[in-house]
Amino acid sequence: MSNVESNDDKKTDMETPQREIGALEAFWSLFSSMKTAIALLLALAVASIAGTILEDKKGISIYSSTWFSLILVLVGVNLAVCSINRFGIAWRRTFRPKVESTPESVAGMMRSESVTCGGSLESVTDQVIRALRSRSYRLIRQSKDAAVSIYAAKGRASIWGPYLTHLSILVIFAGAIYGSMVGSEGNVIIAEGERVSEYSSNDNSESSVPFGFEVALHSFTIKNDESHNVMGYESDLEIFDGGRSVARKVIDVNHPLSYNGVSLYQSGYGLAGLVVKVVAPDGETVDLPYNIGEEQGEGGPVYAISDEPWKQFSLGGKALILFVHNLVPDYIGGEMVNGSPLPLNPGVNLVISDQLSNLKAKGAWTRLGWLTTYTPPVTYKGFTVTLDRVRNYTSLSVSRNPGLPVVYLGFALMVLGVFMSFYVTFKVVRVNIAQPGDGVKVIIGGTTRSTAAVFDKDFKRLRDTLG
């Protein structure tokens, strides 16, 4: 044995070996930190606030920008790293807890009591176990050196609550990413009586995307109440796949139609066309269809006849010409004439003439006035003219989102996770039973993240049982 301290000893006392921390380790350490998590939560909140203000004041949307997406990615990474890191701990706490205890360690728990009673070590242990089982605890017992340690737990699901909540966020992110990569959104306009097989995509290309089936609009209906307010509107749709009818549904704003992973949502509507009917004195009739086009005006869409507003026709032996002088979407008469930009009651102002050879002559034209689908027929030289029907079009939002079931799963997991985190209480009761001399000494301890009061009934049951 040497009395001289070796240099080696000195070195280990003074220096801690400095390991090199690799990039992966630094990354892991940063992203498993709770402070990082909180910083990211706040960053996301601040960025979102900035987003709403920018949108309101400048009309810019930042939510699909790279840096916002980066924050979301970092949140996802942080969640994933923290979850992986803490999995082992959660697993051990649930399935491999430390059972062995000492009287001192149990006495030092959040709440503890001590009872001395008669009987044997075995009989008292049995009583304790029965009492705890009657309070729905799950137990593990361990005997060592003539002492018994009991570990009892209840509400272990609570341990997994935060886990499940965080996992659910990752599931939602996964569903959202998958949906945006593989899914598509767009919209389609179908006029009454029309059948379409493609929709136009919402992405920058605005290209036509085939449905893979056909969608037909049978009829479009606007429901009003007496005071002319729109109560709702619905489209009677039918889907044909390979020529066969596979689905038929009247959809409205809250009831979409889905087929083959594609969903059709009622989004809007407008005027597509109208038909003026003329009846000759001899009963012969003719339907004069007009197509309506629209442009976006300041107050809403502005409608006008998109093809020739003059229609020449022969009926009942006469040659006539009908001219649509004016078109309004919501005829209410009086001075205002038009009530709203919504196509609630389309009206046409017509003039007619039978003097085809000299249309410019004075008195060649007769005004028929405003017609709607409700106005009675107007007569002209024995002919009756009506606005027979209006063709609407429906505007549908089209969405294919294969990620949706994943997102919904995430929602369900999140609700479960939050509930488990806050409404299931994880309680641990430890009991140390020993027979130091006369009588059996039982030390009971309880610990929980909630308050000590949650053990009132458990401890009372134990006290009552042990007498």
Binding site: M34, K35, A37, I38, L41, L42, L44, A45, S48, I49, G51, T52, E55, D56, S61, Y63, P162, A176, E185, D225, S227, N229, V230, M231, G232, Y233, D252, V253, N254, H255, P256, S263, Y265, S267, S397, V398, S399, L404, V407, Y408, F411, M414, V415, V418, F419, F422, Y423, R449, T451
Partner: protein
């Protein structure tokens, strides 16, 4: 069962809340339980009548009273009163009434002042779905809870300040002899926030499902959606700082207070200060 009956019942509930407020205030100032317990009786009575008024109005108009700012305030006042009653009954404390009831009374007064509105007859088609019920019900409970948490957090700060004020005999100071100990107040704020957080999670999810069913997009970064999310994030921060950083007391209380500023913007700022599809008025 007419709307007028429902509105009259609400007026009665309002006056019951007024008496309750009086009872709580007297009880608090005099540090006496009898007027406070009387306050509790009138609170519960007022709540019963308020519930009746909501039921009558629902039957009379054929739908839940969630559709315009007036109806929303009528329901929100009810939710705040329900949350407060739950807090009082589960903690067996009457001392908060003197502070929470005036807030509930203020909400009830605001409800009375907002005009009933012309648009109750023609309801926007998108609102005609059963999904509005869980969405608005969880929203009023969430914001009611966050509002009560705000009051309790302020009471915590008051009690803590009284406890740490210089001088002797702190245990018998005005505040200390009337409010529960600071640690208990802190715990009650936490449990109220936790309930609000569960509700807010449901608000976001039911809103997303409704948006998907109506518009085909479960999330569009619309201002109201974003602010509801920000609310959720702030209270998530509150919960995380407590559960993993061990924050308690003053720092937590301040977070609960800041959280309600965010709730305020979500409820009123978005409607009145920003434009968007999802306005409440």
């Amino acid at each position: 069962m007419t709307e007028e009956l429902g509105l009259s019942l609400f007026k009665i509930a309002f006056w019951l809340y007024v008496i309750a407020t009086g009872g709580y205030l007297v009880g608090f100032i005099q540090n006496s339980t009898v007027p406070a317990k009387l306050g509790r009786c009138f609170l519960l009575l007022g709540l019963a009548v308020h519930t009746a008024s909501l039921v009558v109005i629902t039957v009379a108009i054929g739908r839940a009273p969630f559709f315009n700012m007036y109806e929303y305030m009528l329901s929100f006042t009810w939710a705040a009163a329900v949350v407060y009653a739950a807090v009082e009954l589960t903690t067996s404390t009457t001392s908060f009434g003197a502070f929470c009831l005036p807030v509930i009374l203020a909400l009830a007064y605001c409800t009375d002042v907002i005009p009933r509105g012309e648009i109750d007859k023609s309801v926007l088609p998108v609102l005609k779905t059963w999904l509005i019920i869980p969405h608005v019900a969880t929203a009023i409970l969430a914001y009611g809870a966050f509002g009560i948490a705000l009051v309790l957090a302020i009471l915590y700060l008051i009690r803590e300040a009284a406890d740490t004020a210089p001088g002797k005999r702190k245990e018998t100071s005005f505040w200390a002899s009337r409010l529960p100990i600071a640690q208990k107040l802190d715990q009650i704020v936490y449990r109220t926030v936790a309930f609000g957080f569960l509700m807010q999670t449901l608000v976001l999810i039911t809103g997303a499902v409704w948006a998907q069913v109506s518009w085909g997009h479960y999330w569009t970064w619309d201002p109201v959606e974003v602010w509801a999310l920000i609310t959720w994030l702030i209270y998530a921060t509150y919960l995380h700082t407590r559960m993993t950083l061990g924050w308690r007391g003053r720092r937590s209380a301040w977070l609960a207070i800041i959280g309600f500023a965010v709730v305020g913007f979500t409820l009123w700022g978005v409607t009145y200060l920003l434009k968007g599809l999802h306005t409440y008025a």
